[in-house]
């Protein structure tokens, strides 16, 4: 019986009796009314030519199923007589013969689709056939050659095969089972039996989606984006731009504080990173700029933890530079937006208010009634001791100025997480031929005299890709980089180093070994003079040639054998 297992189970549960391998023989009547159905038992005979085992009636096994009503559920097939009469070609199975691609029948003016062509199928199949036929009919009426159209369709790749690869390591999850009406109710009513999924189950089921189809181009995002920023026609393209200088301004990443388990980020819903709090604060943010907890309540107290991941030998040794000041700004905004009775606790190591007007701002905040506690908190917990801490997050730490241990119950915690070099900084560095410092940020040419330039000529740095910076610093750094880049680019010519190679034509034996060695193809062989010659405009002075030249003809200026020998002799003069 070709039914889904759960359908059979449901039927059995409702008390349906299934007679397998039985065939109806006749309807038994009592005074013209149905009283039963006579059936005969069958058994599976030998397989026929199609491999299917046909049921064979068992002689004398007739039995009667008593009933008051009988619902015949017999198969269907197209009524083909009038079709053949009309002159259409019809298959052995009484379905209309059509061209597979154009849906055209044996009569050129007639197209066909649906169950009459495919035999019993789904509504979706029928609609698809309708679409196909409509397109073909349009072309036919417009006078197009359907033969060409057929060929075009036949050569077209079948759609929906370029699925995204399923990532490894995804646990198998069972499909959510459908909720069914109680059997007691369903047997006595015509109400829908399948009740669908509850909210939770439905969202869970949706989350199982691996999104292997990627974008299905439903275009809903185009409608949703008010700024018209989505364009599905855009394709990846490689653009070659000729430039004289490049400014690298790739920015920074915010450290993920989840590895610092003592602060409970990710475990406690009311622990935020600085950037998340900024978003909460934003007028176009999820709360419309109001500072609210996830339960919609206004927080009565907020703890701000400085130096999370910065100034910490376990994470980043450097100071992230901006946190003290934005923590002060948050304090000010909390007082302003959430109310002046809101308690704000800053846990700091040192307050670093280094810029113009910064120290004054710090003082103003102290006067606004914000509490400053010197000491990095040890832990943030939700384990309350005493009624005051019930339902709150407790910041456990020490006030190192008074030497007291503290437990501060708060509603919300903001972690001022470290700024760090971007994850892909090594690739970017390799691409531009620049280096990274020990902290991962790009290395400037000189910490004091060349903070925007790099060891590679023409590559400049701007902003936090070189190290943590606040906005005024980043702006001045970028303006400086732009100025330097322009100064180099507008000059239109560059100075080449004096330390290039030179091949002494009197000594060169013409072995041409150096030509193979030169990474810049700066050496050419002069056939007439039978010596190799250096093109000084191309030579970068690496000395690959002079380090190997068997005759000693190739020399790098300022690094000749004579000079290096003299240097060696000089620094070893006191040794022997």
């Amino acid at each position: 019986m070709p039914a889904y297992p759960e359908e059979i189970e449901d039927a059995l549960a409702e008390g349906v009796v299934i007679h397998y391998l039985s065939a109806p023989v006749r309807i038994v009547d009592n005074d013209g009314k149905v009283s039963g159905l006579e059936c005969i038992r069958t058994e599976l005979g030998a397989p026929d030519s199609s491999g299917r085992r046909r049921p064979v009636p068992i002689e004398g096994s007739e039995f009667i199923v008593e009933c008051d009503a009988l619902i015949p559920a017999i198969g269907q097939q197209p009524e083909a007589r009038h079709l053949t009469e009309a002159g259409l070609d019809v298959s052995r199975r009484n379905t209309i013969e059509v061209n597979r691609h154009t849906t055209q029948t044996s009569m050129p003016d007639v197209f066909a689709g649906g169950d009459a062509v495919s035999g019993p199928a789904t509504v979706i199949d029928a609609i698809a056939a309708g679409h196909k036929a409509a397109e073909a009919i349009h072309r036919y009426l417009s006078g197009e050659n359907l033969g060409l159209y057929e060929k075009e369709l036949a050569e077209k790749e079948p759609p929906g095969r370029d699925w995204r690869e399923i990532p490894e390591g995804i646990a198998r999850e069972a499909r959510a089972g459908l909720q069914h009406r109680e059997v007691r109710e369903s047997v006595s009513s015509f109400a829908e039996v399948a009740l669908g999924l509850h909210d939770e189950k439905a969202t869970g089921e949706a989350l199982r989606c691996l999104n292997c189809g990627a974008c299905s181009e439903c275009m809903e995002c185009v409608k949703a984006c008010e700024r018209c920023a989505v364009d599905h026609a855009v394709q990846e393209q490689t653009v070659e731009v000729k430039v004289g200088t490049i400014i690298v301004a790739t920015g920074f990443d915010i450290m993920d504080p989840s590895p610092m388990q003592q602060y409970g980020y990710g475990r406690f819903p009311e622990v935020y990173t600085g950037l998340e709090f900024e978003r909460l604060n934003n007028a176009v943010g999820p709360t419309g700029g109001q500072i609210l907890m996830k339960n919609g309540q206004r927080p009565a107290s907020i703890g701000i933890v400085h130096c999370v991941g910065s100034r910490d030998v376990n994470f980043h040794e450097y100071c992230s530079r901006v946190c003290c000041m934005y923590a002060l700004k948050y304090g000010h905004l909390i007082k302003e937006k959430a109310g002046h009775d809101t308690q704000v606790y800053n846990f700091y190591i040192d307050m670093r208010c280094f810029g113009k007007g910064y120290e004054e701002f710090y003082r103003r905040l102290q006067e606004e009634g914000i509490t400053f506690v010197r000491g990095r908190p040890a832990e943030i917990t939700d384990e309350a001791i005493g009624p005051k801490e019930e339902g709150k997050l407790i910041i456990i730490g020490e006030d190192t100025l008074s030497g007291r241990r503290l437990r501060v119950p708060v509603d919300m915690v903001v972690l001022c997480t470290a700024m760090e070099a971007r994850k892909n900084a090594p690739e970017v560095a390799r691409l531009f031929g620049i280096s990274q410092g020990g902290d991962g940020f790009f290395l400037e040419e000189h910490p004091k005299l060349g903070p925007m330039s790099t060891a590679t000529d023409g590559i400049f740095l701007a902003g936090s890709c070189q190290g943590p910076k606040d906005i005024p610093d980043a702006v001045s750094h970028a303006a400086g980089a732009a100025g330097q880049a322009l100064a180099l680019a507008t000059r239109g010519k560059v100075e080449i180093p004096s330390a290039t190679s030179w091949i002494d034509p009197d000594v060169c034996a013409g072995c041409q070994t150096c030509i193979q060695l030169c990474p810049y193809s700066a050496i050419e062989f002069d056939e007439r003079k039978e010596v190799s010659e250096v093109n000084e405009a191309l030579c970068k002075g690496c000395g690959s040639c002079s380090g190997f030249c068997p005759s000693g003809a190739a020399r790098t200026k300022h690094f000749t054998t004579k000079q290096v020998f003299a240097e060696i002799e000089g620094i070893l003069a006191d040794v022997i």
Partner: protein, 140 residues
């Protein structure tokens, strides 16, 4: 007798190890005074005869230090140096030098700590190796 203090000549690449040495210095990392550096534009320009010359002049060991493979400022000079030094190590014994008196390392521009550590290690190793025979025999 005074403890033996070796003299090590280091041919260092201008773009990486030399900068690392600078960084080690400005970072005030402790390093032994045994190393005397000769700046080259690239380890690829270190002629093997420079190494032999240094040893003949009485250096107890020679270090050639360049950029990590793939990081060469001149595309691949450090790889050429690696080949040359490998071959040079093979023939050093014929000059009467222990092949351990020549060492090649990769130290990037930002690896000041690495540089100081390499210098300390090398000074230690050469101390254990003892002075260059030339210094005791005084024969050239």
């Amino acid at each position: 007798m005074q403890e033996f203090e070796p003299t090590i000549i280091a041919f260092v690449c201008n773009w990486c190890t030399y900068t690392a040495a600078d960084l080690a210095g400005t970072s005030r990392l402790v390093q032994p005074p045994n190393v005397r550096m000769i700046r080259m534009m690239c380890t690829g320009m270190v002629d093997p005869k420079y190494v032999i010359k240094a040893l003949l002049e009485g250096a107890d060991a020679v270090l050639v230090s360049g950029c990590h493979p793939g990081d060469c400022h001149y595309i691949n000079g450090n790889l050429k140096a690696r080949r040359r030094m490998k071959l040079l190590k093979e023939i050093l014994p014929r000059f009467g030098f222990d092949e351990r008196r020549l060492k090649m390392t990769w130290i990037g521009a930002s690896e000041g700590i690495d540089f100081a550590q390499t210098m300390r290690d090398m000074a230690q190793q050469v101390k254990a190796l003892g002075p260059n025979q030339l210094r005791t025999q005084m024969v050239l």
